[in-house]
């Protein structure tokens, strides 16, 4: 499997390369968005890791450009920014998921594996050209692949979960899951169940509606 790492920070580049090599993958690195796009156009990749804060072309723009090149490739965003609005902008640009810094090696490895597997699933189930284009984005920032992944989990478990729990169970980052859950809520696929805790604020739990 080929991984493309786009990050302006040498120490992060090195760290990510080492982790990917440990997992037995090939790594290409790029120092900024422009370079990353060139490398991707030339060699392609199975999974792309993109940093948010970069000179020349920031993460959001890079993700958008990558998507125009390839509608399918999983793009993971590495960010220190925890704000949901930033996450939403990334997802709308076409990012697949996030890895919040600081990230642990095992978590990163399993996340990359998950997205590679999800991407393979959609590729191995060949659909009509027409629906494949539709496949990537149901609406802006929502990919069918990820949506199915989250829906499957909720559908098969049939109990209320917090976004936090879902995020851990499906192996996707919190901001990604939150956005998809909000989408499912709009669609009327899930409902909110407010759970009053012994301590802390009441929590919103989400459950699949039949």
């Amino acid at each position: 499997m080929n991984i493309l790492v786009i990050d302006d920070d040498a120490s992060i580049q090195y760290m990510l390369s080492e982790i990917c090599e440990f997992a037995g993958w090939n790594v290409d690195t790029a120092n900024n968005g422009k370079e990353g796009l060139n490398v991707f156009a030339e060699k392609g990749a199975d999974v792309v890791l993109v940093d948010y804060h970069m000179p020349e072309m920031d993460g959001i723009k890079t993700v958008g450009e990558l998507r125009t090149l390839n509608a399918d490739v999983p793009i993971l965003v590495l960010t220190v920014d925890e704000r949901q609005e930033i996450a939403d902008r990334f997802l709308e640009a076409g990012a697949t998921d996030f890895a919040l810094k600081p990230v642990k090696a095992p978590d990163l490895i399993s996340r990359i594996q998950l997205h590679a597997r999800l991407a393979k699933l959609t590729q191995s189930a060949p659909q009509q050209k027409f629906s494949e284009e539709k496949d990537v984005f149901v609406t802006k920032g929502i990919s069918k692949r990820t949506l199915c992944h989250i829906s499957d989990f909720l559908h098969s478990n049939r109990e209320p979960f917090s976004v936090d729990t879902i995020s851990k169970e499906v192996g996707l980052a919190y901001p990604t899951v939150y956005r998809y859950i909000m989408h499912l809520l709009d669609e009327g696929k899930v409902e909110i169940i407010v759970s009053y805790q012994k301590i802390g604020r009441p929590k919103n739990l989400y459950q699949w509606i039949d």
Partner: protein, 446 residues
């Protein structure tokens, strides 16, 4: 409170000025300035207009100098006491009582009689004028200059013969001079002179008062602008600091990534343990950074740890040490943004130190107690306390008892709001103040 007023030397200076005005007549009377000689020569038939005008001018000057002490002393005394006790009405009442008292004392003490009728008008006018510009905080020296012009101007009304019937110039010297003026046939010219001089000085005093209050306002606006610019600069440097803090996560990420990779690559259980320790340290740094960057970030934290953090954060040159009064179990966990809550408490503690500054047995106490499942964090001092009127204004940004713009309590309020906590001021004048941050039940674990 009265006792503390009595201790204030500025009050005594003003009382001294008033008393000085009363006894000044002994050293600076009509005899000393040559007015008596003039009057004698006038009485003896040398009734020239020249001497008359001179005598009138001397009399007015003398009266002005004497009155100046009473009025300025009384006005400034009223101002100060009113300001200190935070009761504005005292600023008007005190002069209204003190000035007539002066005249009663003088008339009882000296053989000369001084009339008070014209002064009633003068007094009212002066006080009203000065109080009108009160909110612009004229400096005492400016007030004195304006006051002296007013007095000098209005004194001339006492020398207008036709105004005698309205109670002006009933003093023995004034009456005599006016009679002489009528005899000499100088009545009209004296009236003209007196009126002209009166108008010139009174108008001038009004113009001065307006001008100075405008200048004062302008200066204040400039000051406020300056503070606003300072604030803007501070917030910009604050933002810069946030970017810097943000960038701290990058090296942390590299450390955490490689650290966790080491853990995957080795079998040595000790090394795995070290990696675990490093990892948890990295995460506590990362959490701190998140708390600095996002005020809605909160973590569960033991009260003990919070207190330790507050103590460690408070860098101060004072040798007072912060005592902590645990009225609850320090192991209880609370859901807080530790960084911001610490800053809020440190702000309160700094204010408390200011409040006990100069007090011999200044005590500051950080109190922690539970009340009906709520957790209260309080900072108390034994300073002078906060008046109820100040308590309303205290939380506003910009309010300060010190010379710099107050932002501390506004920040405390912001932090409390971010934690869904309420604030309470418990203050007794002369005994001290406790400010409580009350964390709601949902932020407290059992």
């Amino acid at each position: 409170m009265i006792a503390s007023l009595m201790k204030s030397w500025t009050i005594w200076i003003k009382i001294g000025v008033i008393l000085f005005g009363v006894f000044l007549l002994s050293w600076l009377g009509p005899d000393e300035i040559g007015l008596t000689d003039l009057l004698i020569s006038l009485r003896e038939g040398e009734e020239t207009g020249n001497k008359l005008m001179l005598a009138v001018f001397l009399l007015i000057s003398l009266n002005t100098v004497l009155a100046l002490f009473h009025y300025i002393g009384a006005l400034l005394l009223g101002d100060e006491i009113g300001a200190r006790l935070n009761r504005p009405w005292l600023k008007i009442i005190i002069p209204l009582i003190v000035i007539p008292l002066d005249y009663i004392v003088i008339n009882a003490y000296y053989s000369l009689t001084y009339s008070f009728s014209a002064y009633a008008l003068l007094l009212l006018f002066a006080i009203l004028l000065l109080q009108a510009f009160e909110k612009d905080r004229l400096k005492p020296i400016i007030k004195s200059i304006i006051c002296s012009q007013l007095i000098f101007g209005i004194e001339w009304l006492n020398e207008i013969p036709s105004l005698s019937q309205y109670g002006f110039g009933q003093g023995s010297l004034s009456m005599e001079l006016k009679d002489i003026a009528v005899q000499v046939g100088f009545e009209q010219s004296l009236t003209l002179y007196s009126l002209t001089l009166c108008l010139i000085f009174v108008i001038n005093a009004v113009i001065l008062a307006v001008y100075f209050s405008l200048a004062e306002q302008k200066w204040r606006i400039k000051q406020e602008l300056h503070y606003a610019q300072l604030e803007a600069m501070q917030s910009r440097s604050g933002r810069e600091a946030l970017y810097l803090v943000h960038d701290l996560k990058t090296p942390l990420t590299a450390i955490e990534g490689l650290n966790s990779l080491i853990s995957l690559k080795v079998d040595d259980s000790k090394i795995k343990e070290y990696c675990q320790k490093i990892s948890s340290s990295i995460h506590s740094v990362s959490d701190m950074i998140s708390e600095i960057l996002y005020d809605d970030k909160k973590h569960w934290c033991r009260i003990k740890d919070l207190v330790g953090y507050v103590k460690a954060s408070r860098l101060s040159g004072t040798n007072l040490n912060l005592k902590v009064d645990f009225q609850t179990d320090p192991e209880i966990k609370i859901l807080i943004n530790k960084i911001r809550m610490t800053r809020a408490l440190v702000n309160l503690i700094d204010n408390a130190y200011d409040a006990v500054n100069g007090i011999e047995d200044g005590k500051i106490l950080l109190k922690i107690k539970t009340y009906e499942n709520e957790l209260w964090l309080g900072v108390s001092d034994n300073g002078i306390g906060i008046t109820p009127k100040e308590q309303e204004k205290i939380w506003k940004a910009g309010f300060s008892t010190k010379s710099h713009p107050g932002m501390g309590l506004a920040f405390v309020r912001q932090v409390a709001k971010g934690h869904g906590a309420s604030l309470e001021i418990d203050s007794k004048l002369g005994h001290g103040t406790t400010i409580w941050i009350k964390l709601a039940e949902r932020s407290v674990s059992r």
